[in-house]
Symmetry: C2
Subunit: 362 residues, 2 copies
């Protein structure tokens, strides 16, 4: 990973934003900029360089992992270490503007920092610039994302081996998660969704102790984290003998998903991609059953910018990686969702998820 280039880009941003320094507190941003993978750390950037602060638990790990920044191990709370370092460096009474990540920094931490710092250091609310930079993945990241997506796809194959009427949703999830671990995934991207029967109409139906029943769909929405990067995929299968209504709903969602994928290209807005899916379902009279947005960015985090949602103006660029996941949900009955990850290319997009989307009954 080219941490130096990422930090350089952010340092250029500081100049344009009239900030003297920026304190990165959001851990995925810290990881993106300097490689630290632990659970406690701050990265401070200014024109002179970068300093990474952590606590004693991460002393060895930080020295091994952190690139492009001096490592400081705080003796007490990490934020206190940051404040002490800043105080020492800014003894002269020149005003100094320090940006805080407004989307992540808490009111209490701002107050603590403010109480510890001299008045010449002024705390400013900075926008989500690192998240903006992270939207466009570089070549190293795309390699890792493809590897995570391919691992993720094997988990659905595993699910199909286990998923039968009478089997608990949680047993399907357990088999998938075990397979993920065996292939080197550190953890799942999010709590695995295996939603059967009427639970398939819950867009976020985490695997429960409910046994899978025939006569409804099972929504399987899952992902694994491999070398820091998340995969995200949904497949929906019917249990038992399929009805015409089920097939029609499935085909409508698939058509909507393909229409949205066809709309992904550089220069298109994410709102247009959302509209492509929404419009197709509207034509089939299913518009009001598509209750969520079409997708989201994925990378070091499972939900990243951009939001692929109604009216959003973000313009797609090559290297962006997003999910395309329309669905329809009939409360008390069942639901269907189909989701792939796609990478924006120079002329359109690559569908990263290799799994078949043919209607499947088990």
């Amino acid at each position: 990973m080219n941490y130096a280039a990422r930090q350089k880009k952010l340092r250029e941003y500081l100049v344009s934003a009239r900030l003297d320094g920026l304190l990165i507190s959001h851990l995925p941003n810290v990881r993106y900029l300097c490689g630290f993978t632990g659970s406690a750390g701050f990265l401070l950037l200014d024109e002179a360089g970068s300093v990474f602060f952590t606590d004693v638990r991460y002393d060895t790990q930080a020295h091994e992992e952190v690139k492009g920044a001096k490592v400081v191990v705080a003796k007490k709370a990490v934020l206190q270490g940051v404040a002490e370092w800043l105080k020492k460096r800014h003894k002269r009474a020149r005003a100094w503007r320090l940006g805080l990540e407004a989307e992540h920094f808490t009111l209490a931490d701002k107050k603590r920092l403010s109480d510890l710092l001299p008045a010449t250091i002024r705390l400013k609310e900075a926008p989500a610039q690192v998240e903006k930079d992270r939207m466009v993945k570089d070549a190293d990241e795309l390699v890792r994302i493809r590897a995570a997506v391919n691992l993720g796809a094997t988990l659905f194959d595993r699910a199909l081996e286990v998923l039968r009427p009478g089997v608990k949703e949680s047993e399907v999830a357990a088999a998938m998660e075990y397979a993920a671990r065996q292939q080197g995934a550190a953890e799942m991207s999010f709590p695995t969704i295996i939603a059967s029967g009427a639970r398939s109409a819950l867009p976020h139906g985490r695997a429960s102790e409910q046994a899978i029943q025939p006569g409804a769909f099972v929504v399987c929405d899952f992902g694994a984290i491999l070398e820091g990067y998340c995969s995200d995929q949904t497949r929906t299968v019917w249990v038992g003998a399929a009805t015409d209504e089920a097939r029609q709903a499935y085909e409508a969602v698939l058509e909507a998903q393909l229409a949205a994928i066809a709309a992904v290209r550089p220069g298109a807005t994410v709102g247009e991609v959302d509209e492509a899916a929404r419009n197709m379902l509207r034509k089939r009279g299913l518009g009001r059953y598509f209750t969520h947005s079409t997708g989201h960015g994925v990378g070091l985090e499972i939900h990243e910018s951009p939001r692929v949602a109604h009216g959003q103006k973000e313009v797609l660029e090559p290297g962006m990686v997003i999910t395309i996941e329309p669905g329809v949900y009939f409360p008390g009955k069942w639901g269907v969702r189909i989701e792939d990850m796609v990478a924006v290319t120079a002329s359109g997009c690559d569908v990263l998820t290799p799994t078949s989307k043919d209607f499947t009954a088990v």
Copy 2:
């Protein structure tokens, strides 16, 4: 769970804190107060009652789960739904003080909310009152915590079946996590730590692809979440023929752990508990190798108040549940940690973790 009593207690706090309302945004606090288990929601409390806000994805689930609050499903962003509801209710120009959870609310969300609200609604930074209430577990919670701890303990039995020289750390973690799922755990409390060889000297050495080597300890620190409540346990085993030095370090840590447990009783401060462990290791000349704090509260979250650390003044009360987990770490060589969960009783404490702490070599 007695959600009504919890909300009533918080409502009494509002009066004493001179707040007209409190917006709960931290999801474990939301769950504690009204039972919602999803990933997007705010609970607004005022003297008139409670309102829970979520988005369309959680419409059905919120209506099923939420107790003691009216449910409002926001059409757009949830925070916008909160603002619109407040605006409608407070059309008259009476000043109204709304508390925000300062430890969790971000600078950006405060700005968004402030921009959406009339000037008569004043946003105030509120302290972590719900976390304070959550420190003392009620009888329902203690039942769930015991169940989670007992499930967690079986995972170490599973680890001992798998843990051998040549087996990868991640394979041990995979076997434990699969066993947790099979017993109904929704997920692990935190990324499983299986740290072998020199990695055992990293206090936070997540299971890696490294094969387990003889001649060092393996630190196994793990927990599972059952019905919302976390378990947390560490056992450390030697691989191969044990040296005297290894046995002595192990016995010293165990002695320190037992001394800290003996110090847990109502009226003692958490700093005294920490000192009991630290003092014992100091006597053995190992004080400087004990680099972290002695423990922390556990419940709906893996790390809760109080911090059982040097100089902390929090006074123990019956019903508090904390970990006791001293360790010593020799960088580049190996480390040892032993951790139980204990519940403070009327006269001392119950050690919840049932697993033997005898020195074990595999």
